[in-house]
Symmetry: C2
């Protein structure tokens, strides 16, 4: 028996296009004498489509194309692919979901010469960006109705193909640690001879390694082969964009990895299955990569595909000479070509020759378009028009409007984003980019409609230290200086006032080696570190160790003590940023562009937030009261 | 037995503050000789707090304050209130949710002299803005583990207070039509003598009437009294803001409404319960209100409380003299006072004396501050700086940037929002408003960082026809002309070019009486109307009737035919707006401010969207191909 998985690209919300992709894969497989073809979860509808699942006409189309694809099965060819279906279409019985709409399932379609079967998904993820129970019928909940157990629990069934009994699982079904139902264990008990897991799972830094270990363990426990097929593509939930990286793989009955596909590559991978033993036929093998390289590849894939999907070709980038816009320029140039990238430096009287020089050198190194549009005159016009303005009311009373120097900082930032970049972008048939990193996004250290603006926050899920790492990695990989090396040692600064003069060593109020890790502990750790946790570790003198979280970083206890020698200064800084994280940071994120997700927790749909007042717990307040006496 | 419900205000994410509110209610009740006090669902934690439920320190505080509140119970006084708890704290057994975190429940706390019990929520809503299964332990799913049925299904239990057997349900438990578990039926079967439903449910136009019918039916079926207590407050999920309106009520065993609290009023309402019969003690009775008045009250409550909660006092409003900004000005003036509202008219050479005159009259009528800041000079500066710009690359090649008149329309819009209004607002210690309505929000008929900007979209959930209705209602209610009547007959126009000259009758490309209803059918109907549905009804000649959806509106078949005499023109218009709805509209909504929700489906968290390409179904394409031959 010859088995193949095809690591295909899936387009969200376009069953007609996905059908073409799938049918092409099926015909390639048949031509190659394959007996069983495996395709990813949700191959027909795509996955992240918001509430489009509520549109019955759309589901009808998905069912139509699934049926058409299933017709490819014949005497010598079977296929298993993921799709969506109305539960009624499978069982013949009308049934609504808990929202009162027709119940739908995230299902595998097993098409053989004998007909079609639909083992649907048992474990529906409902955390991070996932919200499957919102849309799909829940196998487990359903079981409360007596007498329907077998029908509603297709996970107990085995499916015979070419004389072999297959267990068919879908994505989360293979990750059952936290569920009280264990599909792999059940399938072992009923005698599965092989288990396939069809998935559609996005890239997250570090996930691939854990997946390899996890499924190896499944195969070993089962004592039978396991094949995992994942799709490619770019999908989004509005605020957050995910890159589906593939990395499909297979393990033999000893739990040994016998095939591993690359990231973001379309691949057909074949296996021979004889006498219970699965072996690859020229199957690709795992190539060890670094995390920073994975992130680099993901961002390039994400930028390229988000633009293509949105029908966009060109970008305008505000190049300040700082590290964030420099990284953005290097990434976009790689992703869409230097001829499609225009860097615009927008000096005011606060910008140094140092940063202007870096921006020029950057454009030279990358070979992209470059221009300068000073904002001094426009900022002065705004000052002249608004400072001293005296609005009146109906009875002739007046108030006076005065622009402070802080107000003028924001005027400059908005002038750059919403006036200059937006106008140039629209005139050039382009969009302009958001170059914010995750550290400043966390605390809203940016101006709304200024540097918060842009069509995409390509590096919005990178902490500041990763921004530097990636700059170095890009130069290393290119074997030449794409990112001007000066930017790597420059003190980060907004250059919006005399207090931020970069040549005098003045700059951002953030101590990145510390605040990067602090914010990560708040936002990105699975069990979020609380203020009380942080303060306790500071008092215990092991905060650096705690925040480093098992990784070696620049952060040391000495560094923390040098900035915050006593509890009072430490607490003042802690609360300053916490209030911004939970306050103004949220207000800005609500109106911020979509973020390309790479970490375990990206802002947006992956990390849901309400604009409410920051809350300080009793434990924290008591601890603070004690140390501040 | 004297029973009271207290319709209290709940603050999201602030258990310390909510505890103060609850304890005050408990002490008032005890002083009044009440034997049983009922408080709303989630009285301690609040409800919409994003993923803050993942913060264990926060849950710990909620448990602490719940326990403290429960201590108020004594020989003569019991209380039932809603809160959150770790499942382990209730059962004594460690248990994780399906996300691997400690399992939490949305629970009632019943505190009597004999101790505390926690009947937790059975039906967890997972549609619209609700996503309870993301955070709370699911009663139904849990039951799959054999032998745990009783523990995991507290809905089967009755709770004896003062000799009466109570069934205790939480919000969705009372709305079981679409679930296969029916809490009210179960509680009837086990012999409940009264059922209380503690809720925390936001305002939606029309919901109150359906709630009254629904619970009357429950009481009648049960043959026993039912008390429904709902809370007040403002809560948000980032992109969407909800007003919790109270409207608590009670029904006797005949299903008759015996008490009904007002919207947005804090109330203690008392009942005497004797011999199985429940009667109100000076209980408030239902006051019939119009839907437009409910919407008006909700918007005022929403604006006032969103600003208070965010620590904001003043607003700046770009007053164009059009109907949307006029309505916004009237609403903000009512909500926060004329001394806190500044109207800014920002004419360019395209603005008419007509609209400028309306803006001036509006400020006069409302008594708020007014000023004018022309944008002509700034727009010219931008044109001069950018038009003809010639960026170069490293090898000396050039491109040329040219601003079209369409580009200049957007330059003007952004100049108003991001330059003038933002600067004035920051200088005055204010924020500036977004005045977009739902119709233009649907298709993105507005400029990003221009009129899409603002801190809050107060009328972003009102269709254009509701904007007019509300303007008339405001004048009617005030008994004088607050909204200048001229604006009600003015042709809507953006006034950004000579093609939009309002005095020549030129203006928006939207035919509001038709497009309002079309967009509502797409976005707001429970079963979304598809393109194929719409086209079919057009071809059948009953589209107006279909879109009116049982309501009498301005839309007639003649009106549709007068604009779209044949299928070709109809389809061209249909697809034009559909592509914007599913395309640029989404891109703009991702970066738009939060919307105050009043309808059955507000944009944002209530209606989740992905930025993907519009999809045309086979059914639609076939129908279209047939009629366009």
């Amino acid at each position: 028996m010859k088995i193949r998985y095809s690591q295909i690209t899936i387009t969200p919300g376009n069953p007609a296009k996905n059908f073409e992709t799938c049918i092409a894969a099926a015909r390639r497989a048949k031509a190659a004498g394959v007996n069983l073809l495996l395709l990813p979860e949700m191959s027909i509808p795509g996955y992240m489509i918001g509430d489009k699942w509520e549109e019955n006409d759309f589901i009808d189309d998905c069912e139509y194309f699934s049926n058409e694809l299933a017709k490819e099965a014949d005497e010598n060819f079977s296929l298993i692919f993921g799709t969506v279906a109305f539960l009624e279409s499978i069982t013949g019985k009308p049934r609504n979901g808990f929202d009162g709409r027709k119940a739908k399932v995230n299902t595998a379609c097993i098409a053989t010469k004998d007909g079609v079967q639909y083992p649907f998904k048992t474990l529906l993820p409902n955390y991070r960006e996932f919200e499957e129970p919102r849309h799909f019928f829940n196998n487990l909940t359903a079981s409360i109705t007596p007498g329907e157990e077998n029908e509603d629990r297709p996970m107990f069934n085995l499916y015979e193909i070419c004389g072999t009994k297959f267990g068919v699982t879908i994505c989360e079904d293979g990750w059952d640690d936290d569920y009280n139902v264990k599909p792999f264990r059940i399938l072992k008990e009923v005698g599965a001879e092989m288990i396939v897991n069809i998935s559609y799972s996005p890239f997250t830094a570090g996930k691939n390694q854990s997946r390899i270990r996890h499924f190896a363990n499944h195969a070993k426990t089962l004592g039978k082969p396991v094949i995992y097929v994942n799709g490619l593509g770019l999908q989004n939930n509005g605020k957050t964009i995910f890159c589906f990286d593939g990395s499909s793989a297979a393990w033999n009955g000893q739990g040994e990895l016998i095939a591993h596909s690359g990231m973001f590559t379309e691949e057909d991978v074949d296996f021979q299955y004889v006498d219970g033993s699965l072996t690859g036929i020229d199957a690709p093998q795992l190539v060890q990569t670094s995390e920073i390289d994975d992130i680099h590849n993901t961002l390039i894939y994400g930028i390229r595909n988000y633009m293509a999907q949105s029908g966009l070709r060109r970008v305008v980038i505000g190049a300040s000479g700082g590290v964030d816009s420099t990284l953005a320029a290097a990434l976009y140039t790689e992703a869409i070509g230097k001829e499609n990238v225009l860097l615009v430096n927008m000096p005011s009287r606060f910008n140094s020759q140092t940063t202007i020089g870096i921006a020029e050198k950057l454009a030279h190194n990358l070979g992209c378009w470059y221009t300068s549009v000073p904002i001094q005159e426009s900022a002065q016009l705004t000052h002249r028009q608004i400072d001293g303005l005296r609005p009146k009311n109906a009875v002739g009373e007046e108030i006076e409007i005065n622009l402070s120097s802080f107000n003028m900082e924001n005027v400059q930032a908005r002038d750059r984003g919403s006036r200059v970049l937006a106008a140039i972008a629209s005139a050039w048939g382009a969009v302009f980019t958001n170059n914010g990193n995750k550290t400043e996004t966390t605390v809203g250290y940016a101006t709304l409609y200024g540097d918060v603006a842009g069509f995409l926050a390509a590096i919005g899920d990178l902490w500041k230290h990763t921004v530097y790492d990636l700059c170095r990695h890009i130069n290393f990989k290119a074997g030449k200086e794409l990112v001007p090396v000066e930017v790597l040692t420059l003190k980060p600064s907004a250059e919006l006032s005399d207090n931020q003069a970069v040549d005098k060593g003045l700059g951002d109020p953030l101590v990145y080696p510390y605040h990067d890790r602090l914010f990560e502990a708040w936002q990105q750790w699975w069990n979020h570190a609380s203020l009380a946790d942080i303060l306790q570790h500071y008092l215990d003198g092991d905060l650096a160790n705690y925040l480093n979280h098992g990784v070696e970083t620049e952060l040391t206890e000495d560094l923390i003590r040098s900035h915050y020698p006593d509890a009072k200064s430490f607490i003042a800084d802690l609360e300053r940023w916490y209030k911004l994280f939970k306050g103004m940071g949220i207000a800005k994120r609500i109106q911020a562009p979509p973020i390309l997700a790479v970490t375990r927790r990206a802002y947006g749909f992956d990390y849901r937030e309400s604009a409410i007042q920051p809350y300080f717990t009793r434990r924290y307040l008591e601890m603070k009261a004690k140390v501040l006496i």
